[in-house]
């Protein structure tokens, strides 16, 4: 159960090795949190993160395959075993697959879409169903500005985020009145291991800075939050640009 000063008792991080996800979870770990469940494919890396945390909360590790959409329902059952409520769920698993030559290997689109879109969508619904029956709960879905206006370079990633992002915004709408809600987080370029070696984009940010913004928005009624927040205006313009203008922008 969440408390009156905005602290959740049970937090579940899906994608327990995601750097942004970890930072968000760490930022939400305030006195009052009883349990943090890290759901990850790489349980050792998740456990190492758990051990690095200075917290009184119990840290629990659960294995899952982030590409296995069919398993998501049972994963949610597992993390809410014994009737335990999920107060906050952070959905952070994803792949970037930067530099993949999809022209040479068209089938590889499935790797990205199956994790970022299909499995995430199944997970989103599984968690939402659970929270709807709880009568409360907040889902924090890590999306990306790449999904707001999909651009060349890595359109598969952008499109995978565009799909899950628009789905989540609509599901949040559907959940109105149930007590459950979704916060869609759209970070810009985040310096992390996922983007190591890549050229920094303007308004680059860090996982910790994203986490600060998310922690604040988690206790609000917001559906969408950008990190840094200036990107709301930047992408508000970008998404409206005619393709002909968009194509001429120097950042493309």
């Amino acid at each position: 159960m969440k408390n009156g000063v905005g602290v959740p008792q049970n937090i579940v991080l899906f994608g327990g090795t995601s750097e942004i996800g970890q930072q968000v979870a760490a930022r939400l770990l305030q006195p009052g949190v009883a349990r943090l469940t890290l759901v990850a494919r790489d349980v050792d890396a998740a456990a190492a993160f758990g051990e690095s945390l200075d917290t009184e909360a119990e840290v629990e590790i659960v294995r899952f395959d982030g590409a296995d959409h069919a398993a998501m329902e049972s994963v949610v059952d597992e993390v809410s075993a014994g009737g335990r409520d999920i107060d906050v769920a952070i959905i952070a698993h994803g792949v970037l697959a930067e530099g993949t030559d999809y022209y040479a290997a068209p089938a590889r689109v499935a790797e990205v879409l199956s994790v970022n879109t299909v499995a995430s969508a199944a997970l989103l619904y599984a968690v939402a169903a659970r929270m709807r029956s709880q009568g409360y709960g907040r889902i924090i879905l890590l999306s990306s500005v790449a999904g707001v206006r999909v651009r060349k370079g890595n359109p598969v990633y952008g499109a995978s985020k565009a799909a899950i992002d628009s789905l989540a915004v609509a599901v949040d709408h559907e959940l109105a009145g149930t007590g459950a809600s979704i916060l869609v987080v759209r970070p810009g370029f985040v310096e992390s291991k996922m983007t190591a070696g890549m050229k920094k984009a303007p308004f680059a940010t860090t996982p910790a800075a994203v986490a600060d913004i998310v922690a604040k928005a988690a206790n609000s009624t917001a559906t969408v939050v950008y990190a840094p927040s200036v990107l709301r205006f930047v992408f508000g313009v970008f998404r409206l640009l005619p393709q002909a203008v968009w194509r001429r922008l120097p950042l493309n």
Partner: protein, 455 residues
């Protein structure tokens, strides 16, 4: 059943429950049978500050205004009131005061129901003199989750009676109760007001050797915003019901007409109650009290229910809501009170209203909050930065001093705080389980604190 978003008076931790206004006892039985998973809780007027009367994903019985329970009556010879659980103290007072009877215990608001008063075992300014609400309940009828209705009193099913007093609604649904009221000679209160320049003076004046025991009602407002030597300065008000002669005689000595004078504006900026405005308020409140002891005659609403004059005053804190922090420490732990006050003011937490009271001995209810000691109540905006850490620190100070927190106001303590603060918690759990073997009652408060979980 209707899906409804509910919170306590503090307007924090909103969740959605299925609400039902039960037409009769049978309707409650139906709801209980239909809610095997997330349970049922009864709700009165929603004046408890935290999540005691809401049940996320489960069912909530809205008791006010229902025909459940015995109808209201007052015996003019004995002063015994019979009231349905959903009836408010406000409703009772409107009838009883003109007939010369006053509720035995009233909190700072008269908008609480009889059921809620029992479930929270509420206390008032007369705790050191008269004890808490449960001590004035002669008997009550409670609907158990099995569907059976039992009569409980201190003589009949005593263990179940005292588990229900202060039991936060988790033993069953109170249907009605017989309450002993107090004979009064007038509808006025004779009040002595005294301004005290610092915290030590307030504590000294309220100690039992400071003649506090000779007053039925006694409470001090303390200024927690003032710093330095003025820290904890306050205004002590003490009194008793005025006799007919003191109230000026005449035909209208028992006249009672509580009015809600103002309504808080429907929309409030989140920063309305900020450090500066609270400081200014505290200064004015202190200055308006007479510097020397002053004796006056006040009305019941002015003395007992000043905030009820403003409808929905709880919205003044804006959209993030507020918490009310009330704890008690044993009489010898005045130093801890001081440290708690310093912890809050040191972090810039400004409290609009802070109230200090010396409580009398604990009653027989295992989960009743009041016990001999000092209780301090302060409220603060829920969205303050760093509040969870600060509260955790203060909670530990309170518990280490042998103190505890008031569940009717709690919005944040850890499950361990109940286990440490209430030494008879396990005993209460056993009695509760006896009354509700299938575990059908539940609330957000119970879920957060693990009140149904062993150990």
């Amino acid at each position: 059943m209707t899906k409804q978003r509910l919170s306590g008076w503090g307007r924090t931790a909103w969740t959605v429950s299925d609400t039902v206004v039960p037409a009769d006892v049978e309707a409650i039985r139906t709801v209980v049978a239909a809610s095997p998973h997330r349970g049922v809780i009864a709700r009165g007027l929603g004046r408890s500050y935290g999540a005691a009367a809401q049940n996320a994903g489960g069912s909530v019985l809205l008791m006010p205004g229902t025909a459940v329970g015995a109808p209201y009556s007052l015996d003019d010879n004995t002063g015994i009131v019979t009231a349905p659980a959903g009836m408010s103290l406000d409703d009772i007072l409107r009838d009883s005061v003109p007939r010369g009877w006053f509720v035995p215990v009233t909190p700072g608001t008269r908008f609480v129901t009889v059921g809620g008063a029992i479930a929270s075992d509420i206390h008032g300014k007369n705790h050191h003199f008269d004890g808490s609400f449960g001590q004035h309940v002669r008997s009550m009828r409670v609907l158990l989750s099995s569907g059976e209705i039992v009569r409980l009193s201190p003589e009949e099913n005593a263990a179940w009676f005292w588990a229900t007093v202060g039991g936060m609604g988790l033993t069953g649904v109170v249907l009605d109760a017989e309450i002993r009221t107090l004979k009064i000679g007038s509808s006025r209160v004779r009040v002595e007001t005294e301004r005290l320049t610092d915290f030590d003076a307030v504590v000294a004046a309220m100690s039992s050797d400071g003649a506090d025991d000779t007053y039925r009602y006694s409470v001090a407002w303390v200024d927690l915003v003032a710093t330095g030597r003025s820290m904890g300065r306050g205004v002590l008000t003490r009194g008793d019901h005025a006799t007919a002669a003191e109230a000026g005689g005449g035909d209208d000595v028992l006249a009672y007409d509580p009015k809600v004078r103002l309504a808080a504006p429907p929309w409030v900026p989140n920063q309305l109650l900020n450090k500066l405005s609270i400081k200014a308020f505290n200064e004015v409140w202190y200055r308006k009290a007479p510097s020397r002891r002053h004796v006056g005659i006040e009305s019941i609403p002015t003395f007992f229910h000043p905030l009820d004059g403003v409808r929905q005053w709880n919205t003044l804190y804006g959209s993030q809501g507020f918490i009310q922090y009330q704890f008690i420490v044993p009489l010898g732990q005045v130093e801890v009170l001081r440290r708690v006050i310093e912890a809050f003011s040191g972090q810039g937490v400004a409290s609009f209203l802070a109230v200090l009271k010396r409580m009398g001995p604990q009653n027989a209810a295992p989960m009743s909050f009041p016990t001999e000691g000092w209780t301090l109540t302060l409220d603060m905006a829920a969205g303050l930065r760093g509040l969870p850490e600060l509260l955790a620190r203060v909670d530990t100070m309170v518990l280490d001093a042998g103190g505890r927190h008031y569940l009717a106001k709690d919005s944040h303590v850890a499950p361990s705080a109940v286990r440490r603060g209430y030494p008879r918690f396990a005993e209460w759990q056993e009695v509760r389980a006896e009354m509700d073997p299938t575990g059908r009652w539940n609330s957000d408060l119970a879920r957060r604190l693990g009140l149904m979980e062993k150990g």
